[in-house]
């Protein structure tokens, strides 16, 4: 599963930060999962915990929260969410791997422009990292 690659990325990131900054453990790790990328939360969480159990970096509390995707048009200024779009299964799957694929499938529902951006909820982000 590709969720494993994302979990691996988080663990490697923590390892690297720990080396650079010289702390020993993570008290709280807050991750945002962007709705657009549609990560399978359970698989991701399982992978993350599994990888961490085999790693030197210890993480006390993991908080995952879903960030709703919102889009904003550069041409007309309109905004919208995923619910306003008509994306089929295949498109959703492609976007799952490469969120930018959305630009191939959807345009601004207000004016039809492809010149828009993902305001929030694109993919995985590390929102907070409390260390000790």
């Amino acid at each position: 599963m590709h969720e494993w690659a994302l979990a691996e990325a988080v663990v490697e990131y923590l390892e690297e930060k720990r080396r650079e900054e010289g702390w020993s453990n993570v008290k709280t790790l807050v991750l945002g999962l962007g709705e657009l990328q549609n990560v399978d939360r359970e698989v991701f969480e399982f992978a993350l915990k599994h990888l961490l159990s085999q790693n030197e970096v210890k993480v006390g509390k993991i908080i995952l929260h879903l960030v709703k995707a919102s889009f904003k048009c550069r041409r007309c200024g309109g905004s919208w969410t995923l619910d306003d779009l008509n994306l089929d299964e295949d498109m959703r799957e492609a976007i799952h791997f490469l969120p930018e694929a959305i630009y191939a499938f959807a345009s601004c529902p207000h004016c039809g422009s492809r010149d828009y951006y993902v305001e929030e909820g694109r993919g995985l982000v590390i929102e907070e990292l409390e260390v000790e």
Binding site: A5, A9, Y13, I95
Partner: protein, 249 residues
């Protein structure tokens, strides 16, 4: 402590470290043969038994799949990431798998994001060579490659035109200033077998690896790896350019 950082950078760097040589195929101008040359070199190196990957980084206009005759209907397999399908011995990854060949209009930030995502999740494994088919010019794509890979060895492609020469001079200065050493230069679609700019390249510190003629038959071989490998251009690439890459891998 509050952060808002990107774990993909770490992941992409780690994956790229498993690759011995990364060769972005670059040109100042469009349509000079980057896609054809990067695809053919990938095929030639795979034919020699090297572990080769090819990544189409022309995110908004990917075409390497057309040269390789690779279908984009089936998504790459998932296995702790995405595993690039093997086309004629080459591990091949392209945004076209995901954009389904629909027009993908992106600004710079979107391009960088897409590249970062692809490099963070693609499982190349240990490779001898990864060729990158770049879009024309030096902008977001090349900057992202320079951010994520340690010491890329760009291969420049140019034509025998004065304007192209000027742009090549600029590109090689920019790369030199960033501490990147260029693998060499290929003149493509040449009108004469002897480069009129030999001395200029020398002054620029660029080694001219090959002068490839315009070969009318090549167009018909596009999409057929076997036929491409039998072309006159392939012969030259095999003799003059492939050994330089093998030497580094």
């Amino acid at each position: 402590m509050r952060v808002r950082e990107d774990p993909r950078v770490t992941a992409a760097r780690r994956r790229l470290k498993e690759i011995k040589v990364i060769v972005p195929v670059v040109s100042p101008k469009g349509g000079v043969g980057k896609t054809l040359i990067s695809s053919m070199l990938a095929l030639i190196l795979a034919e020699r038994g090297l572990r080769v990957g090819l990544l189409d980084l022309d995110i908004t206009n990917p075409t390497a799949h057309l040269v390789l005759g690779a279908g984009t209907q089936i998504l790459p397999r998932e296995e702790r990431g995405v595993v690039p399908p093997i086309i004629h011995g080459v591990k091949f990854m392209s945004p076209a798998y995901y954009s389904r060949d629909a027009p993908l209009v992106l600004r710079g930030a979107g391009i960088a994001d897409a590249i970062r995502e692809l490099l963070a999740i693609t499982v190349w494994g240990a490779l001898d060579v990864l060729l990158l088919d770049m879009p024309p010019g030096l902008s977001d794509e090349m900057l992202e490659v320079m951010l994520l890979s340690e010491s890329p060895k760009p291969l420049l492609v140019s034509t025998q035109s004065l304007l192209s020469l000027h742009s090549i001079a600029r590109i090689s200065k920019m790369l030199g200033d960033s501490g990147i050493s260029v693998l060499g230069l290929i003149e493509n679609m040449a009108l004469t077998p002897y480069s009129p700019f030999k001395d200029r390249y020398e002054e620029l510190g660029l080694s001219l690896l090959a002068v490839l003629p315009f070969e009318p038959g090549v167009e018909e071989a596009v999409g057929r790896p076997g036929d491409l490998l039998g072309s006159g251009i392939a012969l030259k690439l095999r003799e003059l350019v492939a050994p330089r890459i093998v030497g580094l891998a």
